[in-house]
């Protein structure tokens, strides 16, 4: 093996290991931060600052009974949790962590991310359908409708960035932000993308497919043990993914003052967005289902289209001059 191959392998293993370590760590982070914003302490008993809660939680999930309901469609039931993790992990292929630290700098990077996130909808649909349970089915139908409709303007909102940088490749997009981060000219695009991202990861306040207070646990009502754990990890990986993509597309990726290495800048920005995800969960109530769809199609979609048209016009004018 030559040096390039070894380097490539190192990047792949590093990204995978980093993600799989950070994702369960978010259990701790989320619970501590939620507690912080609700005037509580959160888990602080096991280990320093309660960090060992991660280990305890994981062990608990491992030793719980991994039950497949007899009325379920066994094959699809087992398949569904895998899909979410696989698709999200695949999306990380195109995320540029630092110059050169990217698994594959595809020239269709953003489209690849979109493709994987649209495939991620299957885990919810199939999981809910295979459970053969009314609440799960309701949850999965809501999830499917939500994810499909929010995907539409998730893609459209990213097109503004593509127009400005002239490329689908994430690496080129980050490079194009040397002068100014895209969050300034594309503020509307950033807001819509982030809202769509929350809906895409079905986090609160858009956790309509799970909606504990209405649907027990929605599409994963019937899941227990490690299968549930995989859904859980998938959700956290989704948060990390949306945060990293937002940073790469709108907040200049690894760019920043040079007293810190680029990777550290990227991680810091991503961490900020993860915290913002948790702040959203701590403060906002869940909208009703029809409100969510109405908001998506009647407000956000026209906004993104407007943003796209205006951006295209400005780019065209600049070219003409």
């Amino acid at each position: 093996m030559d040096d390039a191959t070894i380097n490539q392998l190192l990047i792949i293993v590093g990204v995978l290991a980093g993600l799989l370590i950070v994702a369960p760590g978010l259990i701790w982070l989320e619970r501590r931060l939620l507690a912080l914003w609700q005037d509580r302490y959160g888990p602080n008993r096991a280990g320093p600052f309660g960090l060992l809660i991660v280990l305890a939680d994981t062990l608990k999930l491992f030793f719980k009974e991994d039950w497949t309901p007899p009325f379920s469609d066994r094959f699809v039931f087992t398949l569904a949790p895998g899909i979410v993790v696989v698709t999200v992990l695949m999306s990380f292929i195109v995320v540029p962590f630092a110059p050169g630290v990217i698994v594959a700098d595809l020239n269709i990077g953003i489209l690849f991310f979109m493709a994987n996130s649209s495939l991620g909808a299957y885990s919810i649909i199939l999981g809910g359908w295979a459970s053969n349970n009314k609440y799960s089915l309701l949850g999965s139908m809501r999830g499917a409708a939500q994810m499909i409709s929010y995907e539409v303007f998730m893609g459209l909102s990213m097109m503004g960035v593509v127009l400005l940088s002239g490329s689908f490749s994430m690496h080129t997009i980050v490079e194009a932000q040397k002068g100014m981060w895209f969050v300034i000219p594309q503020f509307l695009g950033f807001v819509t993308f982030f809202i769509a991202g929350i809906a895409e990861t079905h986090r609160l306040p858009f956790d309509i497919p799970e909606a504990e207070s209405e649907l027990i646990a929605g599409f994963h009502s019937e899941y227990s043990g490690m299968k549930f754990g995989i859904f859980f990890v998938g959700e956290y990986l989704g948060i990390i993914l949306i945060s990293t993509v937002t940073v790469a597309l709108y907040f200049g990726g690894w760019l920043g003052p040079s007293f810190l290495p680029p990777l550290v800048w990227f991680i810091l920005k991503t961490f900020g967005f993860i915290c913002f995800f948790i702040l959203l969960r701590a403060s906002l109530p869940r909208p009703r289902y029809d409100q969510l769809m109405e908001y998506g199609w009647k407000i956000l979609l026209p906004l993104t289209l407007l943003n796209l048209v205006v951006t295209a016009g400005v780019v065209l004018l600049n070219r003409g001059i």
Binding site: Q8, D73, L79, L106
Partner: protein
């Protein structure tokens, strides 16, 4: 590259056959998704990464989701599976998982170690697709746009709710 192309095509063919032979409708649709993924892979190998991505986003990601949606609403029970079995008696031996794993491994290998290049060496990027769509084929784009507009208007018409007068005095007057 050639071997990857053949593996992907093989997976596509097998998955499509399995779509037809499956008893359970949702399982059949799953194989259809795998088939679409395989076709996307073929596109990628042939040097059209843009079309490959669109294939996954639109066909596998959106259209099949809607199909599954409809089938979930149909509330199919064990009887329908049994009926299908009567029609066609074949054991499920290879799951779509195996096929998807083959595809995934290929994709990972290609993404990680091979530069993006077509079988014949000419890659058609997103820019080329856009240029040809808005250059020689602009009439086709406009026509499909009009068609979609008609669809949107029709959907709006079907989905529109008549405004109901809810006031109890006015309601009696209406009748």
């Amino acid at each position: 590259m050639l071997i990857i192309f053949y593996i992907a095509s093989f997976v596509a063919v097998i998955a499509t056959i399995l779509v037809i032979t499956q008893h359970n409708l949702v399982h059949a649709l799953l194989y259809l998704v795998v088939s679409f993924l395989a076709v996307a892979m073929v596109f990628y190998v042939l040097g059209a990464p843009f079309i490959a991505a669109l294939e996954v986003i639109i066909y596998a990601g959106a259209i099949i989701v809607l199909l599954i949606f409809v089938i979930m609403m149909l509330n199919l029970r064990q009887e329908s599976v049994a009926q299908e079995k009567q029609w066609l008696n074949l054991q499920i031996i290879v799951g779509p998982v195996v096929l998807a794993i083959i595809l995934g491994a290929e994709l990972l290998y290609m993404l990680s170690f091979e530069p993006t290049s077509g079988l014949e060496g000419n890659v058609i990027g997103a820019k080329a697709v856009g240029l040809s769509l808005y250059g020689p084929y602009v009439i086709g784009v406009e026509l499909s746009g009009i068609l979609l507009m008609a669809g949107i208007v029709g959907a709006y018409h079907l989905g529109r709710q008549k405004k109901k007068v809810t006031h109890r005095f006015l309601e009696t007057q209406e009748e």
